[in-house]
Symmetry: C2
Subunit: 212 residues, 2 copies
């Protein structure tokens, strides 16, 4: 018993939170909040369950950390890309729709969003956080750009907030479809193809002749 062998664990205080959040993201995405077991999150993060509680006080606080980590990188990118666009509304749509399609197809927004929808009733603070930090700003941003375009005569009369919902809705549907029905055999939607066709409908359906 003189050979030291591999150490049972390392002390890596700085790295643990990120690793735990990443493992939690994966498990929450697969199982939802209630279905996610802390033992499994700990196992995937390579620590014991007890270690989770050194960094997060409760399961719900861990859930919060996951949601925040999924939101932060994306919201800022989209906002900045939209606000810096100088051209007419038709061109903005041509930029915006593929951007949204890309975020939906690749980021953690989709599975975490589904989780919020599924468990929001049981964890209202989560739904509130998701709404206040991600959804409402995004709807507000798009609504504002539509209202401005209407003032320039580029977009037809109509409620800007409803227009914003119409623009976003097919992407929400495609993501939920992928998360919910594709695993049980449904044919997926090609999100980029959807974005292209949606762009066609919106340009013909929303724009006046005054836009390019």
């Amino acid at each position: 018993m003189l050979q030291p062998g591999p150490p049972k664990f390392q002390r890596r205080k700085d790295d643990r939170p990120g690793e735990i959040v990443a493992a939690a993201l994966a498990v929450f995405s697969e199982k939802g909040f209630a279905g996610a077991k802390l033992d499994e999150i700990a196992r995937r993060a390579g620590v014991s369950k007890g270690a989770l509680y050194l960094y997060f006080e409760t399961k719900e606080e861990l859930f919060h950390a996951v949601v925040k980590s999924a939101i932060a990188p994306n919201i800022a990118m989209v906002r900045q890309r939209l606000e810096s666009f100088p051209g007419p509304f038709g061109g903005l749509l041509e930029l915006f729709l593929p951007t949204i399609a890309g975020v939906m197809a690749t980021s953690a927004v989709a599975p975490i969003g589904k989780m919020v929808i599924g468990e929001g009733r049981n964890f209202p603070e989560l739904a509130r956080y998701w709404h206040d930090e991600l959804v409402a700003p995004m709807i507000g941003l798009v609504s504002g750009m539509i209202a401005a375009a209407q003032a320039r005569g580029e977009v037809r009369a109509g409620d800007p907030r409803l227009y914003a919902a119409q623009i976003m809705a097919p992407f929400l549907m495609a993501v939920l479809w992928r998360e919910t029905f594709v695993p049980v055999g449904a044919e997926p939607f090609d999100i980029n193809q959807l974005a292209a066709q949606h762009l066609g409908v919106l340009k013909a359906g929303m724009l006046t002749g005054a836009s390019s």
Copy 2:
């Protein structure tokens, strides 16, 4: 203690299943599958928990019964209303969108659908059932009508299935919004107003000049 008083319970074998399913629908809608407690379902149905097991073998079978009860009345009604419509596609949209809006606003499709989305990963048979019995037929029905309208030259070129998704998506979004974000203070969408504006965009964005 000789007074008989009211009986402790009645034996109503024929009525129990419907009452239990109704109570289960309410509790599942509020809490989701994992969050719904059988004790609460039994209490609301006016029976003991043991009585549930006289009519349903497991919680999941009860969930199945709830899903079926929410689907059956609606799918048939919508299908029949659509298939009996004789006019051009523009007129069909004028009929279809308010119909969908009504179903979404009033029926149990919305909360149960949200439940399926939220818990589908953990209960794949449920997601499969919902897809096969409700969603796929509806998408197929709408897609077929779009393809027929394209053959008549009334609708522009494009994938009929994607068009169907574009038509349905805002209603899905409005319902999820109501279920998820309105309870935490978000401004609701007026689903009828959304239907009206959506109709305008679709008519201008999908139809050719050949339709009325």
